[in-house]
Symmetry: C3
Subunit: 341 residues, 3 copies
């Protein structure tokens, strides 16, 4: 796809400065600008690059003052960053505009698929699955019995969803995500072995959730594992059975939430964090990367670090001392010597 500066300016409600007929087919950062691409300039720190960039078009703020002539065509808009993001979004939705059912795919007889839906080849849709409008399910997915996927949700290639789960509207589920696998529940027996506790609940994912590649979300033992609306999970995150994650909470890659933990709203959880089972985390709590949460956090908006974690301010103070421990030992030994004399 190739676009002229004039055409893009029209979409963005901006003014062209320079050759309006120049065309671009891709995006680049202004500091890495390449021929055939469009960039943006919003942060004044990057102003210098406008004089050297090879981008053919740069979106700039209306009030940008140039110190000398520039080679790219400019599109002047009210907010250059937002205009650029809007272009990216338009580009992405053009790119992902697939519809129709590819063959071979496996769709159980009782499943009704709206014309607006895309089902990729080698995808399996089991009995009694319900699929909303504009849903895209890419190739090699498996959607088991009774699962429901609401409008405008995208399921990328290779996602597996076990039976009876509910996926909200406007969600994006990335490749390799497993939703609804059995919770890790085993009752110890007398002879050291285990008896599986049947896991017959499900997973409920509300609207506007994004789930990163190869993340796993287990079904509840009974009831539901719940991901509330607006939650963003990064790649390789583990969500155990009966967990509930509150609205708009963000969890970075490789973190794990053990069984029945309840995470509040608008929390920010760093990468590789572990949270033990059955705890409650208050709203707006922040947890530093690699921390281990062993107890409930009751105060809203607090910040934790460490494994096991405590308040980040106290943790940082202890950490400073930890680094100095060999020095402190010398200090103690010196004191001891002194008082022995």
């Amino acid at each position: 796809m190739e676009f002229t500066a004039n055409y893009l300016a029209q979409i963005l409600n901006g003014d062209v400065e320079g050759d309006g007929k120049v065309t671009v087919s891709d995006f680049s950062k202004i500091e890495e600008g390449k021929s055939g691409t469009i960039s943006f300039l919003a942060n004044p720190i990057y102003n210098k690059y406008i004089y050297s960039t090879s981008s053919n078009i740069v979106i700039v703020n209306k009030n940008l003052v140039l110190e000398k002539k520039v080679s790219p065509t400019l599109i002047r808009v009210d907010n250059a960053y937002e205009a650029f993001a809007e272009l990216l979004n338009i580009y992405n939705s053009l790119k992902n505009s697939k519809q129709g059912i590819e063959q071979p795919s496996f769709i159980a007889e009782d499943v009704r698929i709206d014309d607006s839906v895309y089902i990729g080849a080698f995808t399996y849709i089991a009995k009694n699955v319900k699929i909303g409008k504009n849903v895209k399910i890419y190739p090699n997915c498996y959607i088991a019995e009774n699962t429901e996927i609401k409008d405008n949700t995208t399921i990328n290639s290779g996602v597996k969803i076990y039976s009876d789960c509910k996926i909200g509207a406007n969600c994006t589920v990335h490749s390799g995500v497993i939703i609804g696998g059995d919770g890790f529940g085993f009752a110890p027996q007398k002879n050291n072995d285990y008896k599986k506790v049947p896991q017959i609940g499900n997973v409920i994912i509300e609207d506007n959730v994004e789930i990163g590649a190869n993340t796993t979300i287990d079904r509840a033992t009974i009831g539901s594992t719940i991901i509330r609306k607006g939650v963003k999970l990064d790649n390789l995150v583990q969500v155990a059975h009966n967990v509930e994650i509150g609205e708009n909470t963000v969890i970075a890659a490789q973190s794990g939430i053990a069984g029945s933990a309840k995470i509040g709203k608008a929390c920010m959880i760093g990468g590789q964090v572990g949270i033990v089972g059955h705890v409650t985390i208050a709203d707006e709590v922040k947890i530093a990367a690699q921390s281990g949460i062993a107890k409930s956090i009751k105060q809203k908006g607090t910040v934790y670090q460490g494994s096991p974690a405590f308040g980040i301010f106290d943790y940082q103070k202890s950490l400073v001392v930890f680094k100095n421990l060999p020095q402190i030992i010398k200090q103690i030994d010196a004191i001891e010597k002194k008082i022995q004399n």
Copy 2:
């Protein structure tokens, strides 16, 4: 599926108290009881919910004494928890009773498939694979050459098993599990790059093993990576080449075992634990979540914590002091001041 209280009481060898014709089609916890569901009451702490629950049927112990009238139909049995678990098991096996070969699937010519087996669509069974009775292999799986899967094992959707591996009987392998990928072995060369060490061993998984979603188990360099009978691995666990995990050991999510480590029987390993290569862990050892095991653990039944880990009792004591370090520094400074005067 809908069942009457009378029918369920007959299965459970229990006595109906109330309307035997009431029907249920799902399960719920008594404290979250919903119309159309069956719950159980075993722990006296939950006794109060029997008076308010909306469940239509509750399984209770024979000796439960009611303080007032209740609305659900009761089924009185010897052990309410076990009776409930039995129902869950029956429900699950009814639900997962698939048989036959769905099309399109790819089955090599020399593979014999018993009538009791289920092979889902888009599953690939390569040459010389052996599949036992009642095995279920869900859609989108890949089972490479010479692999063997014994009776009653369930391979969920999207599992990939490389060539020459052996999977025991009564195992459950969850979606996205990769068995038999190459071990991470590279010989350093003079110019900073690496030469791959061929990985020509296999993976042996014994009977009654459960493997969680997206877990990876690498094949041995030579010989076998071995998962002994009764082992339970949670989601996103990494098992490297030539590891051996002893009978009935349980490993929680996101833990990783490096190459040639040998884990004992009946160990319990928490989430996000790391174990370095070539160590031996004694039987019945417990390791706290996020711990790092850098050396062999020789004493049976010991409990470890920390990264690097040591005995949990000592670790906890050091940890208490760690939290107080800023306070202790003040104490030392005060002493220093005092003795300088």
Copy 3:
């Protein structure tokens, strides 16, 4: 496949000692030698096993002096380890010699596939994908639009590659790997929720890279996430958007690299390491397992440990004190008592 000692000696340019007609069909370690297999003996520590092994053939160094008679046939070569590795390589390439397009597969009309290529059943090749010579793409893969895969690369079963990515020559990508999923970028909005930042860059993987099972590599927001030539990534590694990993760097299982971090050449990064976003790691840096890197590491060849990490030598000293903290507290209390008297 079955081979005589005479035949193998000819391949390895070695001398047969004993029955040259004995045959083997598999490999084993000398200390675990089994009938029907070939082993090697290079390290003198293992010399004793040559008298007891059940292997039928053992490759040994030319200068090995025997103390008594041995039962296996020997093949004497200049370097027993290298000769054995060569046999493994030959075996592996014989085993993985598939060619042709299996059905059903999905190949877009404009994709040209060389006769030397293998495409497994249920694999999906989208529009404008370019595939080099001798490429093997196993069953159940998904290769999206405009992606390029160069000569001699193997893509194992179940790999998903999003659009516009570039995979170099001689790479091995293991099952379940996800390349090119969206970076984790969300702009916070006023009402606590998030707006997705479109991720329109790609992933570039250079030549001779190996990527372990279920590893995830996100596409760049703009520009490219880059894995330089010779890099080896183990299983379940997370590489975020706009990361660059330098030539010949090796990263063990379950490590995670956050967005825009730049890792140098020939680094060695242990398992379960976390590296925060936007840092730079110098060449030849080593990072111990489970460490957390919170700041750039500027000095080439340094070794780090801890979470947060600092120089391994200082870390180890602090760690020793950490273990002794309860003892040190007693020491301080004793001092305090003494000076109070």
